[in-house]
């Protein structure tokens, strides 16, 4: 589904990622873990087009998407969420999700200005679909609330609903459980499984090991910008290198 090949990223003189390669299987949940500063978020930023990598390539279903800006990836079905939630905070929850439908709607500026019939019909369809995504994430009652006024846990859900509205084939989640309490985390786990069951491939960066081991089909471990290990949760748990990286030398 997604293939990362020899990706290297250098900031100034600092090597954030060095020759990282791995594959993400279709329809699976893949976890990317590693200690702080391992380069996980940098990797996400490269895959999702926010950074242009110094070297290496990224493929989405065999198509080379290296260096594509994010707005070209969304129509191809690659979407992400953010670690420190990038909400459109001055808009309502429903409007946030409607923005997710942007790449799947066509009306141009002119037909929006003039409110042409086609645009009206499209708008109606979009609103209906946005509601189904709110329901999917269990926040149907929040549609009219201004996003900036929501508690943190709900923001996560809005972000996921918004991402799902893009109709992704692959969804990258950057620390989705960060800042959630244990009940919210349990709900999140169910939601992620539900997303996977719809046939969406999920990649997540996460520090909550319990969640990762529980939910992931495969895990990639990064340490100091390099790939340290790759395998099933059980293999990773028993890998001596991984244990050493997490607990420190000696």
């Amino acid at each position: 589904m997604l293939r990362v090949e020899g990706v290297t990223q250098i900031f100034g003189g600092l090597t954030a990622l060095e020759d990282v390669s791995f594959r993400v299987g279709k329809g699976a949940i893949t976890g990317v873990i590693g200690p702080n500063g391992a380069g996980k978020t940098t990797l996400f930023n490269i895959i999702t087009g926010l950074y242009t990598q110094t070297g290496g390539k990224v493929f989405l279903e065999e198509a080379d998407i290296s260096g594509f800006p994010p707005e070209r990836l969304a129509p191809r079905g690659l979407v992400r969420t953010f670690q420190n939630i990038e909400m459109f905070h001055q808009m309502t929850v429903l409007e946030n999700v409607l923005v997710g439908l942007h790449s799947r709607s066509r009306s141009g500026i002119l037909s929006c200005l003039l409110k042409l019939p086609r645009q009206l019909a499209e708008e109606r369809r979009m609103r209906e679909e946005a509601h189904t995504w709110l329901e999917f994430c269990g926040i149907a009652d929040l549609g009219g609330v201004e996003a900036g006024a929501l508690p943190f846990g709900k923001c996560r859900l809005v972000e996921i609903a918004r991402a799902m509205a893009v109709n992704p084939r692959i969804l990258l989640m950057d620390e989705p459980a960060a800042g959630l309490n244990s009940r919210e985390t349990a709900d999140l786990e169910l939601l992620i499984r539900k997303i996977r069951d719809m046939g969406v491939t999920v990649v997540l960066v996460e520090h909550d090991m319990e969640l990762v081991m529980d939910i992931c089909d495969a895990i990639v471990v990064l340490n100091l910008g390099k790939k340290l290990a790759e395998g099933t949760p059980r293999q990773i748990q028993e890998n001596p290198d991984v244990i050493k990286a997490y607990l420190g030398e000696g």
Binding site: F11, G12, N45, L50, Y51
Partner: protein, 294 residues
Amino acid sequence: MDLLPQLTQYAFSGLSTGAIYALIGLGFAIIYNSTGIINFAQGEFVMLGGVLTHFFLMVLKFPLVVSMAVAILVATAIGVAFERLTIRPLKRPTPLSMVIITIGGSIFIRGVAMLIWGKDTHSLPPFSGNEPLVIAGATVMPQHLWIFGLTLLVIAANKYFFYYTISGKAMRACSYNRTAASLVGIDVRRMVFLSFAISSAMGAMAGIIIAPLTMTAYDVGVMLGLKGFCAAIIGGMSSGFGTVLGGLLLGLLESLGAGLISSGYKDAIAFIILLLILFIRPQGLFSKAQTERV
């Protein structure tokens, strides 16, 4: 007239206005580096310097040096008060709100100056007579020399402050990383306060030393401020050498352009350069590009 002396002439007047732009530009850069704000009111302190000195010297009949000192003090006090009253109370500052507030401040200060001192232009007497000197075939006003001397002095003092005093080093730390600076116990608010004090004082100084050449009035701050900003942009917003070079370069180009091409378009030159630099090399002419981190 031969071309060479003429060029020398342009060079002298260009470099002296350039020195003024450099001083104003440094003011922009110092505030920007310690707060991330472009202070659109910067030009008004230049105006205040000139107008206040005129007021103390010609109306209250203070001696020149005293007038200058008091004018700088008053302008600095206004700069600090401006920061206290408008920028510090802001809870969630965004670049947009900062632009609008400092523009508001600039209009307000200009308006009050107009109400107090009227719309007339005032001239200040040169610091040491009107007798032109002849250097390399070009006639040079002694005021030009004053400008060079005082600008050099201010830049040297600046350098000393930023590199050899605790407060100066703390301010540099703030400009690299404000959060880290506050973690090691630097009082960031005091640094912001200091940066406003220093840049209003420098702006006022620039306004005073150029006033004998160009006259002064309530509305001179707008153009001078913008040119100072151009200088800072050419220099990549550095609070050091880059901005000084940027100012001198801008002054030279303007003076040559006005002399050799057309004087009507003189003011346009600075803005064309500004746009070109922002479009092609937004990091300035003298610094390396930085990766923006998300």
